[in-house]
């Protein structure tokens, strides 16, 4: 799919970078951030956010340049990670920026919430069941003398 702000090739590169920020979990329960489709969400956000468009654009340019003619996809995961760290040195703030954006989107996604053992929904309006308070826990405290200081009016 061609996005308004990134062509297919750049979108695929961004997805690969996001999969590096949050890769699929080793047990296969949690998808990578790119696999989750977050590149499309970020690209859509770039249309209305000049700072984001500039940062991601500069970051992708740098990654393409550093990857050389074979491209980012040809590198193994550890080489990709090194390359992204290098890109972060040359485009200061690139990784923290991407990480912040990716974390906020990734951990709102229902598929991720389910993988974390949470209900795939916002907290309201259903909420969560909890056991009522167990007063027996307080037995040691109930046996204590008063803790507050007496003032001149009795209590």
């Amino acid at each position: 799919m061609t996005n308004q702000t990134l062509n297919d090739e750049r979108l695929q590169l961004l997805a690969s970078v996001l999969d590096l920020v949050i890769p699929p979990s080793p047990d296969g329960n949690k998808p990578g951030a790119g696999e989750l489709g977050l590149a499309n969400q970020l690209a859509a956000g770039m249309a209305g956010d000049a700072m984001m468009a500039a940062m991601i654009g500069a970051g992708l340019d740098k990654i393409e340049q550093l990857a050389g003619p074979d491209g980012f996809a040809a590198l193994d995961p550890s080489q990709r990670q090194s390359l992204l760290e290098k890109a972060n040195e040359e485009v200061p703030g690139l990784v923290p920026f991407l990480t912040f954006r990716v974390y906020t989107l990734y951990y709102q996604d229902n598929r991720v919430l389910e993988a974390l053992g949470l209900a795939p929904r916002p907290p309201h309006p259903v909420g969560y069941e909890m056991e009522p308070f167990d007063e027996s826990l307080l037995a040691p405290v109930r046996g204590r003398a008063k803790l507050y200081r007496t003032t001149e009016r009795g209590e």
Binding site: Q108, L116, G117, H124, P132, R149, T151
Partner: protein, 535 residues
């Protein structure tokens, strides 16, 4: 066209403005409240959306400086290690508060007599006790009778909120050390109450409660006050309180929702704008009679700003705690170290309050800022070590008044109507630092006793300036205080102040219950003295 004069004009529709409006409503006086914010609809709250955690950093953030709402006014906190927090709406900061609702201790009103510091209040616990009880009934407080930290009887109207696995784990730690703890007195309905739904344990309290279980005053006092004829005009920001030739307040000048300047005359003016908003307004209300600001002949308006210095300690546990369930801040409270102990190197004391865990987004962002959660190949392992495995506790230290801690008018910054912003100048006292150090070590101790494998600490907690007190303090001496023992300005006999500004000292607990109980007491005293209110 200007509105006809009213009998009582209340400025601010938050915790105390709502309480005094409700109490005075039975007099059938013509009562109007001007509020710079608006009503918050239940559908406005973040908790119904997937992005609810993120909005804590946006339009429902704690600091007015970062929210980008036109109804907020800037607070210059460059010269303070603690940032001011507040919310401007019908309900005020009760919209975002955790709902912790403890009372002061009797000793909190007698710090000079007992400990030789600060000043005693001109009122005491026994005088306030019936108003605490009334306020707890009106707000719908959940809790449990029998707490040895308080004089009895003290019986919250609703049963306590559930502790959950996280709360039970922490309670076991306190029991192991033999320390006091008790289920929090919480202004959150544990079951349906007076037309409000009960808490569904959604854990979004700090960004408002779409359920209406949390007792923000837009769902407690205000509906009842309005039913009795009190009126609220929202999006109206008061610029100054005006004074007649007789030296009495005669009304206000305010900006309406379109930014047009309006005047409202009144027989009585009640200020309920919080410990920063109230001195800001009084200092901006200069006149020939009051060149240094209204009701400021003592020079005490804006002085003695108190926060509660907070420390945050989080424990990391080996097992999951279901910390995303339940009221965010209202779990258990400990007052083991509340009263002065001569063996310590500080006077007065502090409370512990337990916190729920962090949500999935906040876990990631918090771990990113502390370096505990990695990006890349190790992300899931490091994330999983934290997610739903942390339990936090805050320590709330009593802050003592110091004249050097101030609210003033900012010489440069203004709000959206051109009114000077508030500027706070604040430093932590030596006593507060020693108290924080002591409290942090005890917090680590109890978290480890509860099973934490490691702890993280932030003290003082920068974002924790949500208790704003002391800047128009109460006292019998007009030379050293702004209002008398029932909230009436010494200098202006028809001007009353009912928010946290009037606090003489801060205690070591959340102030809202005391703020509102004081407002009910002031209202009662006004009603008893209606015939000679200005004598």
């Amino acid at each position: 066209m200007p509105e006809a004069p009213v009998d009582v004009l209340i400025i601010g529709a938050g915790a105390s403005g709502a309480a005094i409006a409700w109490s005075l409503a039975e007099t059938k006086m013509n009562i109007l409240c001007l509020e710079q914010g608006d009503w918050v609809k239940s559908t406005d709250y973040p908790g119904i959306g997937a992005d609810w955690e993120l909005r804590q950093f946006g339009d429902f953030g704690l600091s007015p400086n970062g929210r980008g709402r036109s109804e907020d006014y800037p607070v210059n906190d460059d010269e303070s290690p603690i940032q001011a927090s507040m919310f401007n709406a019908v309900g005020g900061s009760t919209i975002l508060y955790a709902g912790h609702f403890p009372r002061f201790h009797p000793s909190d009103f007698r710090v000079r007599a007992l400990d030789g510091v600060a000043d005693d209040w001109p009122i005491d616990y026994d005088l306030l006790a019936p108003y605490y009880e009334e306020n707890e009934r009106m707000m719908g407080v959940s809790g449990l009778a029998g707490d040895p930290a308080y004089p009895q009887p003290k019986k919250p109207p609703l049963p306590p909120l559930p502790l959950g696995k996280l709360g039970n784990t922490l309670a076991a730690g306190f029991n192991q050390l033999g320390w006091h703890w008790w289920p929090s007195d919480s202004a959150i309905a544990s079951q349906p109450y007076e037309g409000r739904d009960g808490c569904i344990n959604a854990g979004t309290c700090l960004v408002g409660c779409p359920q209406g279980a949390k007792a923000s005053t837009d769902v407690t006092y205000w509906p009842l006050a309005i039913r009795q004829g009190v009126r609220i005009k929202t999006r109206c920001r008061v610029r100054e309180i005006t004074v007649g030739d007789n030296g009495l307040a005669d009304g206000v000048v305010y900006f309406d929702e379109d930014g047009n300047e309006q005047k409202q005359k009144a027989e009585v003016v009640i200020v309920a704008c919080n410990g920063i908003g109230t001195p800001r307004l009084l200092l901006n209300s200069k006149s020939k009679q009051f060149p240094d600001g209204l009701a400021n002949r003592s020079g005490m308006v804006g002085k003695n700003l108190m926060f509660h210095p907070y420390g945050l300690v989080r424990g990391v546990f080996p097992e999951r705690l279901e910390g995303y369930k339940g009221a965010t801040g209202c779990v258990i409270m400990s007052q083991e170290f509340y009263e002065t102990d001569p063996a310590r190197d500080f006077v007065r004391g502090y409370s512990f309050e337990m916190l729920r865990g962090m949500g999935p987004v906040f876990t990631a962002l918090s771990g990113m800022s502390t370096g505990d959660v990695d990006w890349g190949a190790d992300h899931h392992r490091t994330y999983d070590e934290f997610f739903d495995r942390t339990a936090g506790m805050v320590v709330i230290c009593e802050d003592l008044p110091e004249a050097c801690n101030t609210v003033t008018l900012d010489p440069q910054r203004t709000d959206s109507n051109g009114m000077p912003a508030a500027k706070i100048t604040y430093r932590l006292s030596d006593n507060s630092r020693k108290m924080l150090d002591h409290a942090i070590e005890r917090a680590k101790e109890v978290l480890h006793a509860a099973g934490a494998t490691r702890t993280t600490t932030e003290a003082p907690l920068q974002v924790a300036g949500w208790h704003l007190m002391g800047t128009a303090r109460m006292g019998r001496d007009p030379e050293t205080s702004v209002v008398n023992e029932w909230g009436r300005a010494h200098d202006v006999r028809n001007l009353f102040i009912v928010d946290g500004s009037v606090f003489v000292t801060s205690a070591a607990v959340n102030p809202t219950n005391t703020i509102q109980s004081l407002a009910l007491y002031v209202a009662d005293t006004m009603k008893k003295n209606l015939a000679n209110l200005f004598d």
